[in-house]
Amino acid sequence: MALTSAEKLLQELGITEPQEINLDAIAFYVGARVRYRPLDGCEARIVGYGNNAIITVNDTSPFRRARFSIAHELGHWKHHRGQKLACRVEDYRPRDRASPERLADSYAADLLMPYYLFRPLARAHEKLTFKVVSTLADVFNTSFTATAIRLVESGHSPALLICHDRNGRKWFTRAPGLADHWFPKSELDTASSAFDVVYGTRQGDSSPRKIKADAWFDCWEARSFDIYEQTMRVADGEILTILLLTDQRMLEERGNTSLARYRTSR
């Protein structure tokens, strides 16, 4: 698989271990100095002139959040040099439309969790669970949610990752190659563990549990299959759910798929 621009930069600096991803050094190498100081209105910003830049990060940001912010600004430095953008560093999540922020987010994910390091470490774990997410987040010094997205999008397992709050589905992503008709419902089914967690006090599931697929999907095939669900409460009243599609028949393309009705977020 071809390396991304962020991964090429990491290799140019001889980075072979996640612990070597020193963002201050990487930034300096590309002409950007990182400063930690109080910021009231945002998490981070970048200002540059010619080939020199200053990235300022809020000095009260948690360590992993600050790392993501620096990597995000380096994404702007790579892709938007010479431009003036209204930048909003937000929590990493799948974004629907192509935008400068999405490009900067993708660059940040590649810089913090390059696939050439991430995939081998992920493959050492047989099953995709939140415990594995937590382990990898500690290794790469990344947020729980960003790591979960990366793990699902790495193609480790045929899986979806869905984020809900009490207003319904906020976003979801899925493993590459998974058929589009496995599109999660926007509202939680009362049979799901996720329903109990988002509306109750439970923190989540310690391991995946079997559930009928039609609790999560409303396409006609769903009633024939079982899937595995694991839910975990994350910050700000949000929950994350991993759905594992373990039945091989669910991974086969169906012939007459209409994709037009699908949207990627509410």
Binding site: G14, V34, C42
Partner: protein
């Protein structure tokens, strides 16, 4: 004494040229066969040379990272001890920042990814202007594009 006046040196030079010509004129197969005749394993040797090459590249690349880390640490220390910048008039700073955003002719050399001016506190505006000053993107030529 020049080489032209040294017959032994000239003979050695001719021998060296001849050996080089031999190598350059030989086919790949002939080279490999000769290597095998001397007891060598070309594939193993190629793998060893490739590994050595990759190790050398990796060492050089890691040195780049170490040098960048050291330079970043020096820069951080220097930033702490830098003398304070002269007071900046906040209204003027906001006006300049709005001008940068609004002016399509603002210099292309300037990169800015930050919240809009109206969303930033006075402290954020001042620290942003300090960054711009530090990068040398300000007058005497008023290069921020102030109208």
């Amino acid at each position: 004494m020049s080489a032209n006046n040294n017959p032994e040196r000239e003979a050695l030079d001719r021998l060296a040229d001849s050996l080089i010509d031999d190598i350059l004129n030989a086919s790949d197969e002939e080279i490999l066969e000769e290597f095998r005749e001397d007891g060598g394993d070309p594939e193993q040797h190629a793998a060893e040379m490739l590994a050595l090459f990759e190790k050398s590249v990796m060492t050089a690349n890691k040195r780049r990272l170490a040098e960048a880390a050291a330079a970043a640490a020096v820069d951080r220390a220097a930033a702490v001890s830098r003398p304070p910048t002269p007071p900046i008039d906040i209204d003027e700073a906001r006006r300049r920042l709005r001008a940068v955003r609004a002016n399509p002719n603002a210099p292309e050399k300037l990169t800015l990814a930050a919240r809009n001016e109206s969303e930033l506190s006075d402290a954020d505006i001042i620290s942003l202007m300090e960054d711009i000053f530090e990068l040398g993107a300000t007058p005497p030529d008023d290069s921020l594009g102030t109208p």
